[in-house]
Symmetry: C2
Subunit: 233 residues, 2 copies
DNA sequence: GAGTGGTCTAGACCACTGT
DNA sequence: CAGTGGTCTAGACCACTCC
């Protein structure tokens, strides 16, 4: 007979969480093996596995093979946050989307961009600057470098109508990359583009993306004052 | 015979990603059912399910039951970021951790905090302000409200030695909550606590946590200038 | 070498949802 | 009502790692 209320892998997950928060299992402690838990909960090992795998992806437990059975948390949590396309984000908030290209320079060499994208120093880039608008008001300012060695097609694209953001989504092999979030004081250019005061605090996202063939693009996006991103745990 | 190189649920995932980026399957389009894919890849449906479930959790595909079979992406990506304990974060960066409690006020009523935590207007709170230090330098300033109705134990805790951050981890039932990230101009208090200029751009995290018994705590953390959080996709 | 987690399979039942 | 994804089971093999 299974304990009352323990149903499915989610039920098992909840029971494990309960034991952790009730201090029955303490941070750093090893917990029983999948087989033992399956016996206890009277279910298949795969079900326990699913629960523990999910807990591991949330950072609640750590799993290694063999005697490093399962270690309970050294408490870290993971939050997942959505990285939408700018136009979708604005339209979801009920705003009318607008886009204005400010700068488009082809075949630029930039040490900064090369280092950022870990590309050879003489790599040719397409440099773009643009503003995304919500109901006509500046929403975000985007400063982007596109690697023309790995993405020569971009050379012939006029980014006046379609933002690089959207074009890349539809035209680029699946990407990996890093993302950073931080806060910066608005530079003169950014203040001008976003119609805010110089020095105002702006939320910034920097990201690089790369494919199997090499680095693709690096972008720095600063949002109009007050922007925030939100997620639930 | 299975197609060359397609092995396991990860292989299936990669093949699906390849088809998406190769434009064989386009954003918004329905893709074959699990059963059909299992036949094609010559594997069990559970294996296909695992691949598709993972893609769904990354935001690459959307899944609904029945005819809303599987819709390929309206391209959103999800990043997961770690939410560590302040002390661990600082120590991982190689800094010596320090902590200084600035304010501790018990049985405070605050309309702002009540609204923030969706608690009744006359809820009693414990109000804390503290600074986290890395190698003696201000690292983050924390302004926290703890709901004494749901967590009366907190009343008797002296948070001078152990940060609320850590105490809560070890003493509070498993939590849900929201997190927001934004950028703010340093207030006078924050500038003082962080030894920076008033008005400087600071990275801010706001989060609330709640348990089954009700809301627990709300906290606003501002980091010293230059702080950034990082993740990979 | 033995034990553990990672994964796969073949089959099954259920819940939801569009027709 | 029928079809789809969500989940569970019982059994199996493999890779890695600790002893």
């Amino acid at each position: 007979m299974r304990a009352a209320g323990i149903k499915g892998w989610q039920g098992i997950q909840e029971e494990i969480l309960r034991r952790i928060t009730a201090q029955e299992w303490r941070p750093g402690q090893l917990i029983p093996t999948e087989i033992d838990l399956a016996r206890e909960f009277n279910c298949a090992r795969a079900t326990v596995n699913r629960a523990l795998r999910n807990l591991a992806s949330s950072g609640i437990v750590e799993r290694k093979r063999k005697a490093d059975t399962r270690i309970a948390m050294l408490p870290i949590r993971r939050a997942t946050l959505a990285i939408p396309i700018m136009r979708h984000e604005i339209e979801r908030k009920g705003g009318g989307y607008g886009y204005k290209l400010l700068v488009r320079s082809c075949d630029i060499r930039s040490c900064t961009a090369s280092r950022w994208l870990r590309a050879p120093a003489d790599t040719a880039f397409l440099h773009l600057q643009a503003v995304h608008l919500a109901d006509g008001m500046p929403y975000a300012f985007e400063d982007r470098w596109i690697n023309l060695e790995t993405l020569p097609r971009a050379r012939s694209v006029d980014f006046a109508q379609v933002s690089a953001n959207e074009w890349l989504v539809g035209n680029v092999p699946f990407e990996a990359g890093d993302i950073s979030f931080s806060a910066v004081d608005a530079s003169r250019d950014e203040a001008m583009a976003l119609q805010c005061e110089e020095g105002q605090a702006l939320f910034m996202i920097e990201r690089t993306t790369r494919s199997a063939r090499g680095s693709i693009t690096a972008v720095r996006i600063v949002f109009a004052p007050g922007h925030q991103i939100h997620t639930e745990i």
